[in-house]
Symmetry: D2
Subunit: 345 residues, 4 copies
């Protein structure tokens, strides 16, 4: 089978290429970049020299569908809402790595993203691709809205406790820290080395577009409306997200009991590793891999649960989960092409 | 006037030397390091070459008191509890940068620090040196327990709102991020470059020895017992602490109203800068300086206040505040020797 | 086939594990660490959790040879010189990643390494495992001295020009820059984060133990004694080596002509990529991969050739080349298990 | 006395502000930025909040000369060649931190900088401001061409040996490494955090515009034409330059003898520190300071001298040396406002 990648000069596409290159059943068909069409991708990314030398293509839905079996869209927000209708028209399955199809409500999208939403008829066809939670829906999906990086780390960290009756649903605070690659290869002062290095910066307080996405999945899974406090920080590293999440508990439980709830919840999941009591994961322990590692601590003085969940934002937070979803859609083992050990140190 | 520095080969001492070198009224008398006595400090720290070439001395309380007017102790925890009684005996004022005299309760100290506390009679004589909050007590103090780095950032961020009736006192969560220099120059896997670089790590969940110190000052200033949730993270940078602090509000107020409360609270304080509405500080904006910068955001959806407070852990979190305290003790302007602009970028 | 790894808690062993995990024909048999025997390796390296949980073993030559087909030694210098005789005794092939068997002269070893050399009878049996240069010898070797990280980058950069008559053999200067992981996981001030971050440091000027190794291979291949100037620098990154090498040319040639010499020299080599004229590689373009990328520039003003060669010190500079050598020894494609795209960004 | 700063939103200007703020005799009069005129500089640089709140001004030569006694130009190349004639017309002294007036030959400028040079009549009036070498000329100068960052580190490292008869003048190779701040605050892929972090990159091989500047000063001081090989590298740090310089010696001398030549050469110079035999400086040992530290090693095997010279590119390589020059011009001690200890760690 062949896959097309749209958005061929961004970090998301590059990570898709890296993983697809080692996928046994899925091979790269087309790489699309309107701005660089005709050039080799290795001109922009010399690490691909002598590996991927095929020319970048212009977007053309029909031609893509003829040469490929599935399309990954790794485009900035506001782009795939225009491209996906054309692609679905020609009958090809789409995995959208942008935020355009994640929120069910077009109004909500517009109020957080500050530009026009996708057409409602396509929004309705989208399946939210949080692989560990919605494997069945994903298997039969034609359009996957691949989750955001923060929502992946936050949801996987929170859902096991929210599915019990132990959590105070109004108490959720997610303090998130991210490396810089999440903002893409575009140029801005907030990705300038001298401004980021030896620095931590909080940004978009109360305004991050991942807030409604996290609330949507938490609300869906808790059967009640959930409102969260969510703060994002930029830390001086390239890859990695850590969510430090705080939840008030309504009963007295020990760390060990919570740890067992989580281990049980994720017992058949290839990519979620729950650390034993007394241990918490660091972001580097998942670098370059599709893992989401989770550590837990109940503070008996305040009866608050602290959840540490970490992912590589470009893998489990983007390209890796996208490929995991395609694996599910095709009935392959979900870890196909994704079983590598994290790069450490 | 002359100052002695004990603990002469640690980062705290080195930072004291850097600042004292530009202090107009206070000059370095003795630098003490038992392990390196007789050597020049520039052998361990070549950046001091041709600037500080005096030999390191052995500790001797009497001789120190004859040659100096004040003593800074920048020693690991558990050391100054033994040295300070000897120094007070010979009548010299002491500024302790370690945690040994910060907690009023010896029992509390022992349970968090896991070794023997200072003698009660000396604990009673210690003044907690949070300069902005206790300037009067500091002026007449003979022994200053200089605040910890995290407690300084956390307390300065929290106290203005706690002094109003707006805060839910049971809701306080402090998510703290620190550079690596806070752990000192000692060798451990957790300061190994390859383990820290491109990584975030949470540590000592619910067990950090700064928890009782923060609770003590918050409780004192709120006239009620305060229990907090406090999480510390190591981020890949050398200097800087950010506390992201969450407090539930019991009334509806706007960010602007809270910003005004903070501006008013700190209006005559040289070293606390409250950012205007819509702005939050980054750690690099205080690098190398004694500033504590604060930014505020009220999330009207959850009625929670998020406070961002940043310091340089080695300056306002250690050596800078120590010198600010000596300035206060001597009736000098508190910013004497400390008025430099942060190093940016 | 099964491989044993000795030195199981160092970065070299960890990287061997990462690569062997994806090798189709070679599987991890034993991981040996005398100091940690009985423990799971994931206690020291949580990124291996749920992947490698087998207990670490004590060294026992006989038992290793029964359970494994080949042994990798990723031990500090001075260790494998003792272990390898025992292993060869029981007839198992050895790949030594340390420096113990790289220098043919025991005297030379002692004078640079400052401790006892391996026994001469074993030194004589060792094959220097620079895969691109000695594939035939490697195929039939029983003991491989896997090249050092700096010697790999330096030799691959220099050999094509030295094999022509264009180079002034007395003019060679290699200015090398390395990330910190090359020094291993051991604790020292020179791997302390706060000392390395935001810093460059030159070290061991004229005394680095890789000098005689580089000179040996350059001399062998040039059929004359070569003496080099070699300077090593530590830069604030975890992985990566760049050699910037300067050679005076004895004839006038263009960059393009030199580029063609290199392209021709490496035309059938999977892992050496020669950049086109006008381009030079950066270390990150080979991160996590077995590539050695090379860029060239002839300065017509001085008639000097500048060669930029980069590798990942833990892959092509250690574990990757070791596995490439085992591939050669077994008649497998040399890129087996090593064909991954570098991790970028 | 008052100083104007032109180029008020770049890193050079920001560093001038930082140092002038602590200068006892020189105070900031005007800060000029045409693009941001009317705004407070702290909007772009919040670390200056409550310290520098004066509005940015538009450029006006006459008004600047009325309010200020000296002008610093920290503008991109090609700007000050237009502004300085206007400023000299109104009789104010100028310190140009850009490259526009450093090369005596307009033709040479055009061929390396690829745009129009300054007018010859002004080029003739410029004094090259390498403070340690030309103090007398600087004292009476009206227009200072402040040296580039690389030329400062390279020249101070090379001149003592070039002034003896020990050096082979045709053998000079300078391998230079720089932090990212040298490229300024402008946006480009080569200052994007994710592209720089965990990476070393060589750039502009044989084409860097500092080559003719270095050659000019070396030739002047050696009384013969000097041609060098010069390679620049970008390393993942914000500040700091290291030049590793190689010179063939024509006689046999020891490291100790060379060290004594250097110590003698710089014995009355406040800002050049020559390390003792066996020690070389790291860039962090001069961070934030005006020092240039130098270490030396003679390799007796090749009779080559290796010189390590380090500076902070924004201080001794730009703003600090500019202020040192104004100190000289005014008969003040050259270290006025510049005597701070480097920030370590």
């Amino acid at each position: 089978m062949k896959a097309a990648i749209i958005g061929g000069t961004g970090y998301g596409a590059i990570e898709l290429i890296r993983i697809l290159h080692k996928h046994p059943y899925l091979e790269i068909g087309s790489v699309v970049s309107n701005s660089q069409a005709g050039n080799s991708i290795s001109e922009s990314y010399p690490h691909l020299s002598e590996i991927i030398e095929q020319p970048l293509e212009k977007f053309d839905a029909k031609s893509l569908s003829e040469k490929n079996d599935v399309v990954f869209l790794a485009t900035p927000s506001g782009v795939s809402s225009n491209l996906i209708p054309q692609l679905m028209e020609v009958g090809i399955k789409c995995i959208d790595l942008s935020g355009d199809f994640r929120l069910r409500s077009a109004t909500e999208y517009e109020s957080w993203y500050k530009h026009s939403p996708a057409d409602d008829q396509y929004l309705k066809q989208a399946t939210y691709g949080l692989s560990e939670i919605y494997p069945e829906k994903i298997k039969s999906a034609k359009l996957i809205a691949n989750p955001g990086c923060y929502p992946t780390a936050a949801s996987l960290g929170l859902l096991p406790i929210l599915k019990t009756s132990l959590a105070d649903y109004e108490s959720i605070i997610i303090d998130a820290k991210s490396g810089v690659s999440g903002a893409g290869r575009g140029l801005s002062l907030s990705s300038h080395y001298a401004e980021i290095n030896e620095n931590i910066r909080a940004y978009k307080l109360g305004q991050h577009q991942h807030i409604p996405e996290i609330e949507q999945v938490l609300s869906d899974e808790s059967d009640r409306p959930i409102t969260i406090t969510f703060t994002t920080h930029l830390v001086p590293m390239t890859r990695g997200i850590m969510c430090t999440t705080y939840v008030k508990l309504v009963e007295n439980v020990t760390t060990k009991e919570v740890q067992e709830i989580y281990s049980e919840f994720y017992k058949n999941k290839s990519f979620v590793r729950v650390r034993p009591e007394g241990k918490v994961p660091a972001t580097k322990e998942v670098l370059g891999s599709n893992f989401c590692d989770i550590g837990l601590h109940v503070d008996t003085r305040t009866n608050r649960l602290t959840i540490i969940s970490v992912i590589d934002n470009l893998v489990k937070g983007a390209a890796g989960q996208a490929i995991q979803n395609v694996n599910l859609m095709n009935g392959w083992d979900e870890w196909t092409g994704l079983q590598d050990i994290p790069l450490y140190p």
